[in-house]
Amino acid sequence: MTISAASTVTVRVLLFASYAEAAGQTSFTLTLPAPATVASVLRLLRSQASDARLPERPLCAVNLAHARLDAPVASGDEIAILPPLAGG
């Protein structure tokens, strides 16, 4: 089965702090098959980043709000992968 434009999801991925340092970048675009979730974004990231090692269940956000790993993602969404928080 070929993946048509309508059946893919393109999201912006943001990295911060230690994750950005490790990956050598702070943002990039990912396209993945629909339907997609935060977990499928993480799976694709892990397969692409040869030396990067994400924790099993990193803290993630979709469109400026915390999201569970099974949260759906749609084209245009901003997915952030957050190292352990250290504010306050």
């Binding site: 943001l14 911060f16 702090a17 230690s18 994750y19 340092e21 490790a22 990956a23 030396d51 990067a52 090692r53 994400l54 924790p55 099993e56 269940r57 990193p58 803290l59 956000a61 400026l64 709000a65 915390h66 999201a67 569970r68 952030a80 992968i81 957050l82 190292p83 352990p84 928080l85 250290a86 504010g87 306050g88």
Partner: protein
Amino acid sequence: MTFLTDRPLDLAPLVARVMSPERGGVACFLGVVRDHHEGRTVKRLEYSAYEAMAEAECARVVAEAEAKWEASVALEHRIGRLEIGDVAVAIAAAAAHRDAAFMACRYVIEQVKRRVPLWKREDYADGSQAWVTPRPARPTVERPADATSDAPPVSEHVSHTDWGV
């Protein structure tokens, strides 16, 4: 920016914003940059943020505290380079009575630590640097029922397996 600032924090204007004649109690909190962290001497540190989300999450935390305790809450978190003794976070919470003021203030600092996307890189006396990884949170205040959907469980927040670091 409403909640984040790269300027030194001052509690007085926050207190002035929340004080009013119907509110008999104002509870405040200041988080101060300590000179030690887990046995190492800290020289200075730098806070960075996912700014757009940090602003949104601070707004949610403040709104939750104001609704739950009929309080008026002011919150500022500093980002950028901070020196030892600098104030990193300032909170003022005013309510009709002191119990609500204290609980609202405590709620805000606990939730800021749990939920607001901020990171801290410390510079040590020996010239090294490290991203601070907090120990698992031990929340001591109850969370409003309507806030649970905004944040994942604590266990997801405190992974100690940093990504490649």
